[in-house]
């Protein structure tokens, strides 16, 4: 049978090109977190970042708009860059007992969907499963998604806003001392 000619180039839609650009960004971020390179991890955020984790309530299906607490309500985390830097500096002190000795974590990040916004920034959603093992036998699986706004700063993507939504009402872990 005659073989058909194999095309030598693949044309990507802008959407696919964006996906291929962002997936390694998120893979790199996961390795930075799991290898505890947190100062390097901090450089992935813009100076005006909002790192936000709302609470997640049990509400009737028809009131789904109330499921996540709104900005201005009490959240689990609502941090700016300085607070994130403070948290990382704290871990370096040798006396941040929740993480000293440190947790063993594995961030599995996938299900990436990205769209370019009118102002050139990108909205990117990813799902995560993060395994945390601490001290002798403590362990926890944290499931959820992130919705990021990414901005190009000096040619590199930076996270300008991160909303983290955990798949939990009562958090089952003893504390939340790892980054998501």
């Amino acid at each position: 049978m005659p073989t058909e000619a194999v095309p030598t180039t693949v044309t990507l839609t802008p959407q696919q090109a964006l996906w291929l650009e962002l997936m390694p960004f998120y893979t790199r971020e996961a390795w930075l977190l799991d290898e505890r390179k947190l100062r390097e991890w901090l450089t992935l955020f813009t100076d005006d970042v909002l790192y936000f984790m709302p609470r997640r309530k049990n509400v009737p299906r028809r009131e789904a708009h109330r499921e996540l607490t709104a900005p201005g309500d009490l959240a689990i985390l609502e941090e700016d860059k300085r607070y994130l830097e403070m948290r990382v500096a704290r871990l370096d002190s040798g006396m941040a007992w929740a993480e000293d000795p440190p947790s063993r974590t594995r961030h599995m990040v996938g299900n990436l969907e990205a769209e370019t916004l009118a102002n050139g920034e990108v909205k990117a959603r990813t799902a995560f499963l993060v395994y945390r093992s601490h001290l002798e036998t403590d362990h926890q699986l944290l499931s959820g998604y992130r919705e990021d706004v990414l901005r190009r700063v000096d040619g590199a993507w930076r996270i300008a806003r991160r909303t983290i939504v955990l798949d939990a009402n009562v958090l089952l872990d003893k504390n939340l001392s790892v980054f998501l």
């Binding site: 609502e78 607070y83 830097e85 403070m86 002190s93 958090l171 504390n175 939340l176």
Partner: protein, 445 residues
């Protein structure tokens, strides 16, 4: 009663505490009846159910409870249990509903607890079901400055008597303004520790410069907050005081400074100072000069399970506690100030709070030391400052001479014994109200 008492778990002269009270299931079960079945328990805040027919789902110990505001505005604490088989009526955290329908067989109750509709009332029950006897089980409710308390005990004293002179101090945070406060939250998480350990920790300022050194150090570096050392703590003019089971600490300084709160930094200090100045006349009118200027409530617990203000340590078995973190804000405070306090509160406390996350492994291991054979043979030691507390000319309650003391913790476990050894409220001592409540503030705002 002496040796006839069933529970004799702390020796006040040595501060030795029997470790079994932290892990034994039978003791825990008895706590649920004799402490959580009797005491006035914090269950919510009026601002969580602001409108008629609002509800907020909460707990009294392990019992699920619906806090409702009925159509006429009255508050109810209703056991979340259908009287038929025991299913929960409410499965949501909060909402607005005139009625609650059981998802099992459709029994429907009004939000004041009355049973209204039963499918097959005539066809299946032959009109023999006594509706009036099948209302939802209701607890007694009262409020203090917007905080909602409830008790199952019919023989319990009034909430005012229960809080007693502790309110003299609590007012300096919870009852400052005419506008009242607003509760935001909760963040909820499960800690693997006995509930009593996190309650007694509220008066343990001894742990702060060790457990929380890393957080204090970075906050001093990044936010300009004061440094924290053992020496500062040992020489602090602050005091500990104990009333009716409630363990309080307070700042005692006649410098009329803004209250130390979450969110204070060199940049935000001006906001706090302005607010302090702008509200000073009102606070003095409400609380009198001494409390408005000199006394500032610090870390404290409200017996049995209120932890640092309106935050709850909900028992979930001897080795588990569900923690609920709320933040309370003065209703009429400037939005900029509310934001700063809210964000500061999240950064410090809650599951991810920099301070709070460092506590849990300590509490867990203190609890678990009661398990292994050799360890459990050695009692906990709460001997610090034995013999150095008593009455004070200016301040109500049992006041410790020094700020760093385990006096409140010893008294907390003695209060625990009083509840556990009592046959009813008649056997539980209450200190009479002796404090002079200067100013216009009352129990209800």
């Amino acid at each position: 009663m002496g040796d006839a008492r069933k529970y004799n778990v702390i020796d006040p002269a040595t501060g030795k505490v029997d470790r079994s009270i932290f892990v034994e299931r039978a003791i825990y079960d008895e706590e649920m009846a004799k402490i959580f079945g009797r005491a006035w328990l914090m269950i919510g805040h009026e601002s969580l159910v602001p409108k008629p027919d609002d509800y907020f789902h909460t707990y009294m110990g392990e019992d699920p409870v619906i806090l409702t505001r009925d159509g006429s505005g009255r508050l109810h604490a209703l056991l979340n249990m259908c009287r038929h088989r025991g299913n929960r009526l409410v499965r949501c955290d909060d909402g607005n509903a005139k009625r609650f329908m059981c998802a099992y067989h459709g029994w429907t109750y009004r939000n004041d607890g009355a049973l209204e509709t039963v499918p097959g009332k005539s066809e299946a029950y032959y009109d023999a079901l006594d509706f009036a006897a099948m209302s939802l089980i209701e607890a007694r409710v009262d409020t203090y400055a917007g905080i909602v308390f409830a008790t199952w005990a019919k023989d319990a004293p009034s909430l005012e008597a229960y809080l007693g002179d502790a309110r003299w101090y609590l007012d300096t945070v919870f009852n400052r303004r005419d506008c009242g406060m607003q509760a935001l939250g909760p963040t909820k998480w499960l800690e693997p520790a006995n509930w009593k350990t996190m309650v007694d920790n509220c008066s343990d300022n001894y742990h702060v410069p060790t457990s929380h050194l890393s957080s204090a150090a970075v906050q001093s570096r990044f936010l300009g907050r004061p440094r924290l050392s053992h020496d500062d703590q040992f020489h602090s003019p602050n005091k500990h005081v104990f009333v009716n089971g409630h363990s309080l600490t307070f700042r005692d300084a006649d410098d009329n400074m803004p209250r130390y709160m979450h969110g204070v930094s060199t940049e935000t200090m001006q906001l706090f100072e302005e607010y302090h100045r702008d509200t000073q006349a009102e606070v003095e009118r409400r609380l009198g000069k001494l409390r408005a200027r000199q006394v500032q409530l610090g870390n404290h617990s409200i017996f049995p399970n209120g932890v640092l203000g309106f935050r709850l340590a909900l028992p979930r078995g001897p080795l588990k506690t569900e923690f609920w973190h709320f933040v309370l804000l003065d209703n009429d405070a400037p939005e900029a100030l509310k934001r700063v306090i809210r964000i500061g509160s999240m950064a410090n406390n809650g599951a991810a709070g920099m301070f709070e996350q460092d506590d849990v492994d300590n509490w867990r291991q203190v609890t678990e030391a009661s398990f292994s054979h050799t360890a459990r043979g050695y009692a906990q030691d709460l001997s610090m400052g034995v013999g150095h507390a008593g009455s004070h000319p200016d301040y109500p309650g049992v006041v410790s001479e020094r700020y760093i003391s385990e006096n409140n913790q010893r008294l907390f476990y003695q209060r625990w014994e009083q509840f556990m050894n009592a046959g009813g409220w008649a056997d539980i001592p209450l200190e009479p109200i002796r404090a002079r409540f200067d100013g216009t503030a009352t129990m209800h705002g």
